[in-house]
Symmetry: C2
Subunit: 277 residues, 2 copies
Amino acid sequence: MLKQMTILGPGLLGASLALAMKERGLCRRVHTWSRRQETRKRAAQMNWCDAVFDEAPQACLGSDLVVICTPVETISPLLAKIAPHLPSDALVTDVGSTKSRICHEARAIDVPFIGSHPMAGSERTGMEHARADLFEAAACILTPLENADKAQIKRLRSLWESVGMRVVTCTPEGHDEIVAHISHLPHLIASILCSYLTTRDDAWKQLAGGGLRDTTRVAAGDPTLWQQILESNQDEVLHAIEGFEKELNSFKRALQNKDTPALTAQLTKGKQFRDSL
Amino acid sequence: MLKQMTILGPGLLGASLALAMKERGLCRRVHTWSRRQETRKRAAQMNWCDAVFDEAPQACLGSDLVVICTPVETISPLLAKIAPHLPSDALVTDVGSTKSRICHEARAIDVPFIGSHPMAGSERTGMEHARADLFEAAACILTPLENADKAQIKRLRSLWESVGMRVVTCTPEGHDEIVAHISHLPHLIASILCSYLTTRDDAWKQLAGGGLRDTTRVAAGDPTLWQQILESNQDEVLHAIEGFEKELNSFKRALQNKDTPALTAQLTKGKQFRDSL
């Protein structure tokens, strides 16, 4: 059981983690901080929250574990700010969607940091949508650098496993390549499909079935959060887009040439992948 | 109330329609035919089915309404086959996903045909997944040609409205342009995303979250059915792909150039469209 945990930036993920830990009796006290006063006020009314602070460093005093749940661009600046105020045995992690930049910046700061990426979430952001079961059965990728403390990695693994996650370990670079393909590419494709459809007849959407709705669900995500995620993973995302474009191009050629076997083969490959998910 | 309805090709849509009509007391008898003996055997055991026939024309004898629910490529040949055997006041429709080719071929055959496209369905095909509420609140597009009988259009509209659909009317060409964008494009994008991911590390998919699963759900659809749909709507689908490619390209340029305002604007347009669905 943790004595005290700090959640910096209590949105869907941070609040769900606090809730899951409290409900399971895995953490005695939860401290939190948010940049915005309005969020601090709302957090103060939540069951999972024991204390809210106006400044991030104060929220970290005496905590065994600090989890940074703010947008990716703000993680390193926050790390630098809290570093001098952390207990000597504290562990800091985050829930950011990209890892290379953050992990290398953390090493420069010399803070006991190991990156986490719980592959859970929703296009419904905010602590109001927090659920104690958000992490159950989902994957969590840890991205320790080569010099990371084995005992700290073990602690972090236990944390995410204790709320039901399947934990895997990977380099920050490996992580960013993977998520560019299985998370960022699907997201941007859904967004682009939607932004393209805004250029066509507005009445068409009245006719849409469940297919369009499912395919584009993630496009309802916060544009600023996603702009930051995609920019912070620029190289890998561009690489994934190029791979997708090639595949789209060979499909288009098959359709132009009425190459039925090629079309069917590509649709069959797609079905096999989807069936295996 | 219909005296007798014939479902040719009882899959998810045909069986759901028969079920919905029977449950609402809107049809006395349902006749059916399938090309495959195995399907005929299974149909014979279904509650909604009163008689199964080995030949399509026999299944249509004495029916007020014939609904062709077979794959798009087989609709016109079937129409030609049943035409001489239809009662003089019968109405024939279909549930095919493309309409131009079918409607113009039907006119050449001189059969009392008006095309329908109920925008309902699932990647789970087959009469086993039939549901009486499949059509509720979904859109149905009717595609009468200019010379269509007003009373027959009204009959067809009532049919789909009676099972809960919102009915709109449109030219076959207009229909094909619309569905190329709101149905075929989302489908092929999901398929291509999946087929692309088969070229990458197979272990990655263990890490996928709900985003990838939702975005690609439709890719589990039947590859042969979809190859026929996409080929029968070749021109409009290619046009939709080109529009999507342009949009993807401007997104890629913004990401390459770190043009944050452009990226955010495109993601915001996408979110607004999705939120309005």
